[in-house]
């Protein structure tokens, strides 16, 4: 079991105290090349503070009870846990090798990490807020993003440099199937009916639609070059997809499996977050070190906020449902 840091970084807590006292709705933006995060007030669009995280933070997500926000430091080999509302430091979980992407199964029993450089998927049991390693599963080159089936039995992993998607059975922690895909599969999403997988092909200009059962390819949806990552619109029907090379975002209808709209977002759109009222889409613009705020009524750029270098993961508490 990974040990917790007994050295509570006092200065870290102090650095966050201003943010903690503000009580504004805070957007957390991970600056993966600056080893810190930018905290932004989502109502005024002003940067509140930049706070050190640990080395190379890429992705983040809240715990199932939404009481903690976990930031994965890939090169730091640790997880930073902060308050998802105030940003206040809670704890640091050490000795987690190469945590690139992370996710909880819907039933909250499993915590999965893709170790991107180590070419493996690490599965942890999650009980009472504690992680215990269940199994490390070696995979092909560059494990990337993940998605779970609604029944929490399977986690799907994209294996970016090997052009594969693999399905791992969680109760037995064994690979159920793996299939070849187009070039550099990255983001992956399971449709609400639990039947289809959408896989963003970053090395291509489309999304592959696979069957959940056996990974059979049934369709290609042309979206834009550099099809990368997904975020649901919260209506249980549509999902956003960022196209990193074409600088666009596509909206996909998960029922009809059609692209319904594509609109421009500048400078390498990557991860996204959606306001709970569906009014604004926040996007990390990786190639200009900014966060772009898109007005979803007009699909125009509303604000461009300077953050740190290579901004990647993005989160705010007041977000649309993940469905």
């Amino acid at each position: 079991m990974p040990r917790r840091s007994c050295l509570a970084p006092l200065l870290f807590a102090l650095a966050l105290s201003a943010a903690a006292s503000a009580r504004a709705d805070i957007a957390f933006v991970l600056n993966s090349k600056d080893d810190d995060m930018t905290l932004i007030d989502t109502t005024t669009y002003q940067v509140i503070k930049r706070v050190p995280t640990g080395k190379e933070p890429h992705h983040l997500m809240p715990t199932p009870d939404n009481k903690e926000l976990i930031i994965a430091n890939a090169a730091g080999n640790d997880l930073l846990v902060v308050d998802p509302i105030t940003g206040e430091f809670k704890r640091r979980i050490l000795r987690i090798p190469d945590p690139y992407h992370l996710g909880f199964s819907p039933d909250q029993h499993w915590f999965v990490i893709t170790a991107n450089r180590l070419d493996r998927t690490d599965i942890y049991r999650y009980e009472n807020g504690e992680f215990s390693l269940a199994k490390r599963i070696p995979m092909a080159k560059t494990t990337s993003h993940m998605a779970f089936t609604p029944d929490s039995r399977v986690v799907f992993i994209t294996v970016q440099e090997s052009d594969q998607v693999a399905a791992i059975d969680l109760p037995t922690q064994t690979v159920r199937w793996k299939v070849g895909t187009g070039r550099q599969p990255a983001g992956i999403w399971v449709t609400p009916d639990g039947k289809h997988l959408l896989v963003g092909m970053t090395g291509e200009d489309y999304v592959e639609v696979l069957t959940v059962a056996d990974g059979q390819r049934i369709k290609k949806l042309v979206t834009g070059k550099g099809a990368h990552n997904f975020l649901p619109r919260g209506d249980g029907r549509h999902v956003f997809l960022s196209n990193r090379v074409d600088n666009t975002i596509s909206i996909i209808d998960m029922k009809s499996l059609q692209v319904v709209e594509t609109f421009p977002v500048p400078n390498g759109p990557d991860d996204m977050e959606l306001k709970s009222d569906g009014s604004e889409l926040w996007v990390t613009s990786r190639w200009i070190n900014r966060v772009s705020v898109i007005d979803l009524q007009t699909k125009k750029l509303k604000h461009s906020i300077r953050v740190g270098r290579s901004p990647h993961g993005l989160y705010f508490h007041d977000h649309a449902p993940r469905r």
């Binding site: 200065l11 600056d34 050190p52 180590l118 440099e161 970053t202 090395g203 990786r286």
Partner: protein, 322 residues
């Protein structure tokens, strides 16, 4: 400071990357390297900007207060090519392609064996919240390691055969810092990369450290007649201090294979008794050049002759059997 510099180069970096580099990577199927390529574009832009900055700042001082007055600068011109090859990112890219897979394997091997690079910030509580202090710690560690790297360059005969390319410049100037044999440069990159891997230097800090070192090194090689004074010379490597390292009969051939090896901080030379604070501005080069030894005039000649020298040393070192 680095943040300000990054902001300055950012528009050009972003434009170059999105207009040229990214579409090329995508069409070749190399999108997995996009993040690294974005950094490399930045390094190239920063490198060229740094060269322009160094030229603007140091060249006037060379003209006003030279350590040596030359009738022409022909001998210094080849160093401009070295500088452009290194700082445009061309040679670093070659090194990355050659070393990348090896270093990646080492990284994976270490982590698989359970060795996770120690975080300095983990060892020293509070350092996480003070990036500047962490940065300073990494600068000191890297500079210390480079001191020993440099001593090995002079101590080991086969390595000196390569490093002599750097020392054979008789017209040492602000361009001379990058005048290195490609194999020597490769070893230097390997050394730094392994060190970064072992002690876990964050990428952004690493780039900043190299930028800082290059600024100081360009100045320390400049053909200028000044030091930082009796105290300053002991705190930071000055042009005068480093000129002694390049001085004929002193820097390499002097007592116990030379002196003044430090890159940034002379404290290492002081601690290990290799410091020479004599207030002199010797002619630069290698002693046997005075007897006609040829180290080559052009880039290719210098590279080829160094390999030949190294080969001879290695042959000489082979054990002989009756």
């Amino acid at each position: 400071m680095m943040d300000y510099l990054y902001q300055l180069i950012e528009p050009l970096q972003s434009w170059l990357f999105q207009a040229l580099v990214l579409p090329t990577l995508h069409s070749l199927g190399f999108m997995s390297y996009a993040d690294g390529a974005y950094d490399a574009t930045g390094i190239a832009v920063l490198g060229i900007a740094e060269v322009a900055l160094i030229y603007a700042l140091i060249r006037p001082i060379e003209a006003l207060r030279p350590a040596e007055r030359w009738t022409d600068r022909r001998g210094a011109r080849v160093d401009v090519l070295y500088t452009l090859l290194y700082r445009s990112g061309a040679l670093p890219l070659l090194f990355f392609l050659l070393l990348g897979p090896l270093l990646n394997s080492v990284d994976i091997g270490l982590r698989t064996l359970g060795y996770l690079p120690p975080n300095l910030e983990e060892l020293i509580p509070g350092l996480q919240a003070v990036p500047l202090l962490a940065f300073c710690c990494y600068v000191v560690i890297i500079d210390f390691s480079l001191y020993w790297f440099h001593r090995a360059q002079h101590r080991l005969d086969w390595w000196w055969a390569l490093h002599a390319v750097h020392h054979s410049q008789r017209q040492m100037s602000l361009w001379t810092d990058d005048r290195n044999h490609v194999l020597d440069g490769l070893l230097h990159s390997f050394w730094l990369a392994i060190l970064a891997l072992l002690i876990g230097v964050p990428g952004a800090q690493f780039a900043a450290i190299i930028f800082l070192m290059k600024l100081v090194e360009s100045l320390s090689h400049a053909n200028v007649h000044f030091g930082f004074g009796p105290v300053g010379d002991r705190l930071l490597v000055s042009p005068r201090y480093h000129r002694v390292h390049h001085g004929i009969g002193v820097g390499h051939e002097g007592q116990a294979r030379g002196c003044n090896f430090a890159t940034l901080f002379p404290v290492w030379d002081i601690l290990f008794r290799t410091a020479n604070f004599a207030p002199v501005y010797p002619a630069t080069g290698i002693r046997d050049q005075l007897d006609g030894a040829d180290y080559g005039r052009g880039f290719l000649a210098q590279q080829g002759l160094a390999l030949r020298r190294m080969w001879r040393v290695m042959l000489r070192a082979r054990p002989t059997f009756p």
